[in-house]
């Protein structure tokens, strides 16, 4: 799982079966220090509560679909939690 920052949402009316009612959010992956790292991606919101500006963590690959009510859906990233705090050891 990786940290990400929600930048916005994607609205799509026509979607593959199983994706109805699934919110899609634009996520900027972050490094552990919270700095942007890599290209933005679209992730399904499995917690149904994430919003723009929020720090989240997401799961990638096949396991992303496991976070959704319908498990065999075409999804490769899913937000599985909202981050309250990251405690890093001091370097």
């Amino acid at each position: 799982m990786q940290l990400g920052r929600v930048l916005g949402s994607v609205v799509a009316t026509e979607k593959a079966p199983g994706l109805e009612a699934i919110r899609l959010l634009i996520v900027q992956p972050l490094d552990k220090a919270g700095q942007p790292s890599g290209e933005t991606l679209v992730a399904a919101d499995a917690v149904s509560m994430a919003g723009a500006g929020e720090l989240v963590y997401f799961v990638a690959s096949r396991e992303a679909a496991e976070a959704l009510p319908e498990r065999f859906v075409p999804v490769d990233h899913a937000i599985v939690g909202i981050v309250d705090d990251v405690n890093l050891e001091e370097e």
Binding site: E63, A64, D85
Partner: protein, 95 residues
Amino acid sequence: MKVGRVAGTVISTINIPLLEEHRLLLCDVHDVNGIPSGYTIAVDVVDAGVGDTVLILDEGSSARQILGLDHGAVRAVVVGIVDQLVVDGRVRAIT
């Protein structure tokens, strides 16, 4: 599996039900020379602490098996605390 080092913890109140039951560790993933080559957030099943060198499993089916789940959005799990590493016949210091 990969070798890494626990760099910190991630606190999350709102998450999918499966993840409510587990500690989340932010782990640096190390290459063969012990240099960090990225990080991952992993579920902890061995009570690892910050600073520990650990073994990280990063595969969904095995992760679910360890957690006793049929289904679940989990992939990375800290499955061991490393006591010793031998690379090219030399014992490498565990930091």
